[in-house]
């Protein structure tokens, strides 16, 4: 959408005098400067140096020592690295679909015309604004604690609760639920996508006597698939980088017994508490690579299931 807006603008400016075009160009670059400074100073520079550091042994204080591929080789023999990779993959595989399904279902419900719908939409969007915060992570820790609200509710129904966060079998589950609860951002995009589907199609289907399930799978889903695709990619990338909730809930340990040792959390431990910044940098680059490959895979499969009305020509 942004692209088309820009394109229109370009067409408009062409009709004007060259001097005003130059002024506009200057203004455009002036607007870009803060971003450019940020990009070169805070993103590209550190990224290049971290690429270099990933081939070194670097304890933050003495000069980095070149060790070639050692860091990358060590990784595959490091039990905690393997545990961290497993935890993160489990999280991605479970949390991304559940979150997308939740977002889609709520979006469909909120697509109805009814009084006060704006309030409902806001309410369901709120968690995604708050969800990533430290405060919510602390709240979560208390909800799922031994004497937490969850257990009190369970006790009301006569079920003996667990120390959910303290148990290695359940701790990751509580974080997945926390992530699912933050479906708001995807939901809003789904909602916009649903609004774009022409009403005529539904009307025609209704006239032809299509069942609700048929309408959903034959009309809604295909027409929504580009939006699903977009949300899937975004959530996938985001989920690989989960950090805050695990850091707060496990007090930075990734415990109990590494059950919430997310990849980024282990990376942080290595870099900042164990002074192995070279290893941490190597880990970061492996993560970049994996996210890249996964995203590419999703893109490659997209031609089998993503349906563009204009034939997919962007």
């Amino acid at each position: 959408m942004q692209q088309t807006a820009n394109a229109n603008e370009v067409k408009l400016t062409k009709k004007k005098s060259p001097s005003s075009a130059r002024k506009q160009a200057i203004a455009a670059y002036a607007f870009l400067i803060p971003w450019l400074i940020g990009f070169f100073g805070l993103v590209l520079g550190p990224m290049i140096s971290s690429l270099y550091l990933s081939f070194t042994k670097f304890d933050l204080l003495s000069a980095p020592k070149w060790v070639g591929l050692d860091n990358f080789i060590t990784m595959f023999q490091d039990d905690r690295w393997i545990a961290a990779a497993k935890v993160t993959l489990t999280f991605v595989v479970v949390a991304v679909p559940t979150q997308l399904i939740a977002a889609l279902l709520v979006a469909i419900l909120l697509n109805k015309k009814m009084a006060g719908i704006g309030i409902y939409r806001t309410t369901y969007y709120l968690p995604s604004l708050l969800g990533g915060s430290v405060a919510i992570a602390i709240l979560w820790k208390n909800l799922f604690g031994m004497d937490g609200l969850i257990n009190q509710v369970l006790a009301f129904f006569g079920i003996q609760g667990q120390g959910w966060i303290a148990h290695p079998d359940y701790a990751l589950g509580t974080i997945i639920i926390l992530a699912t609860w933050q479906f708001g951002a995807s939901m809003v995009i789904f909602l916009a996508g649903l609004k774009q589907i022409p009403k005529e199609l539904y009307e025609a289907a209704a006239v032809d006597g299509a069942k609700k399930s048929q309408i959903f799978f034959k009309i809604t889903m295909p027409l929504l698939s580009p939006v699903i695709f977009f949300n899937l990619v975004m959530e996938l990338i985001k989920s690989f980088q989960v950090f805050t909730s695990a850091f707060i809930i496990s007090e930075g340990t990734g415990g109990p017994i590494n059950s919430t040792l997310f990849y980024t959390l282990y990376l942080y431990q290595k870099g900042f508490t164990q002074f192995e910044m070279g290893y941490a940098s190597a880990m970061a680059w492996v993560l970049v690579f994996v996210i890249g490959v996964m995203t590419l895979l999703v893109f490659m499969t997209s031609k089998f299931w993503v349906h563009y009305e204009d034939g997919g020509k962007l």
Partner: protein
């Protein structure tokens, strides 16, 4: 219209650039630090106007007392401005590591038993040149000076003396209708008492796990030590015995169940003993006032249960924290003067009290004991009880403190949830511990 826009834009841009520029100066001082009037401390500014940055971690009480002393110091030394950088313990060392890497660490830094890790990494200034001049340590306990001496150089002033102990909730003992044990109790008595407490109380367990610190005491009772004279001085057998002791305690009902234990917080206000989840917990004696302050119940500090075979309690007096000076501090001499004030000045130490442990300067300590309130008196009593009965040397932390502590906690949890047998978990712990230590020691040399 467009001009106005451009003007606003330029204004924003200028603001952004200015913000960036001054940020780098201030980047180190986080939200906690109160930036005091002076903005910059250029390395060789006019000799009388200097800024010292002082960093520590702690709870609110420590912050209040330390800030008060800083104010006193600034009043007496008008040419010195002190920028405090304080926070809770979480993240303190992560932040410090980043500052050290960036070369903008504070001038005066608080360390714990991990001072040795930082001395090994060559970021701490030896204070020998200042001793006897700016810094007087003639009345300091010899053992505490030794604890901060590495390769015959003196690196840090001890801020307090402390000792491990078992904190007991006396009120809960009364509620359970069980008589308090004698202060020369044994592990056998402990094993007998704890299940009774659990049984007589609703929703409260006899004891919380004594953790890694307890293991150190347990070893000392057997004349073994975590790390002494550059080597690990215990065997996998000792690790097995320790974890079996606690496994038995859990099975008898005496110790808290895993779910309670794993979720336990080390913050006094949220600790198991203050929350009445357990009757006994191990703490360092200087934390006593923070724990008693957080509850209505009556608490008492006991030595660890004795080993009935060796007859030892294994507790030693140990430094709680140090103040040390950053190697590249531009005002090292002024920093040393501040340290001197902090531990030797009568008024300053009266404000600081016992919060970081019993003062290390004997004159100061006598003065405080003479004026102690009830809580502080209990701590001094405990410290003197320990100095009379102490039968173990002070053992500094093993190199690689952070990593080792996490390994110990992980091992406990593996045993809690039966993921490995005690024997297997203990052997794995031992092996990885040796690897960690080797890594840290070799890396620095």
């Amino acid at each position: 219209m467009r001009k106005t826009l451009l003007f606003v834009l330029m204004l924003l841009l200028t603001a952004f650039l200015v913000a960036c520029g001054s940020d780098s100066d201030d980047a180190a001082s986080d939200s906690n630090s109160e930036s005091s009037g002076k903005e910059t401390a250029s390395q060789d500014s006019s000799e009388d106007e200097i800024t010292l940055r002082v960093a520590w971690w702690g709870g609110q009480e420590r912050h209040d007392r330390t800030l008060q002393v800083i104010e006193m110091y600034e009043e007496q030394n008008p040419h010195v401005t002190i920028e405090p950088e304080y926070s809770g313990f979480d993240g303190y060392f992560d932040k410090l590591n980043t500052q050290l890497a960036a070369g903008n660490a504070p001038d005066v830094i608080q360390f714990g038993g991990n001072l040795n890790d930082f001395v090994l990494r060559d970021v701490i200034l030896p204070l020998d040149d200042f001793v006897g001049n700016e810094l007087d340590i003639s009345l300091h306990d010899e053992s505490m000076i030794d604890s901060a001496t590495f390769d015959e150089s003196f690196y840090g002033v001890t801020l307090g003396t402390t000792a491990w102990g078992v904190l007991i909730n006396k009120t809960l003992f009364e509620e359970a209708g069980i008589a308090m044990p004698s202060k020369e109790w044994t592990w056998e008595e402990f094993q007998e008492l704890t299940p009774q407490l659990t049984e007589n109380l609703d929703g409260t367990y006899g004891a919380g796990d004594f953790r890694e610190d307890g293991f150190g005491v347990f070893l000392a009772q057997r004349d073994k030590f975590t790390y002494k004279d550059g080597e690990v001085q215990f065997e996998p057998e000792d690790v097995k015995d320790w974890f079996n002791l606690w496994k038995d305690l859990r099975e008898s009902g005496g110790a808290a169940i895993p779910e309670v234990q794993v979720a336990a917080s080390q913050t006094p206000e949220q600790s198991l003993i203050v929350q009445r989840d357990v009757v006994m917990e191990s703490i360092a004696s200087n934390q006593y006032s923070a724990y008693t302050g957080a509850t209505e119940d009556e608490f008492e500090l006991y030595p660890f249960p004795y080993n009935s075979e060796t007859g030892k309690n294994g507790i030693s007096l140990r430094p709680s924290q140090y103040f040390a000076v950053y190697k590249d501090s531009p005002h090292a001499a002024e920093a040393a003067k501040f340290l001197d004030f902090f531990v030797n000045n009568t008024e300053a130490t009266e404000v600081l009290g016992n919060e970081r442990g019993a003062p290390v300067n004997s004159e100061v300590r006598d003065n405080l004991i003479a004026n102690a309130n009830e809580t502080d008196a209990a701590i001094y009593d405990y410290i003197s009880l320990i100095s009379e009965t102490s039968d173990a040397p002070f053992i500094p932390n093993m190199p690689g403190y952070n990593e080792n502590t996490q390994l110990f906690t992980e091992t406990s949890q593996i045993i809690y949830y039966d993921q490995k047998t005690v024997d297997q978990a203990a052997e794995d712990y031992y092996e990885e511990l040796l690897q960690n230590i080797e890594k840290y020691v070799n890396e620095e040399e």
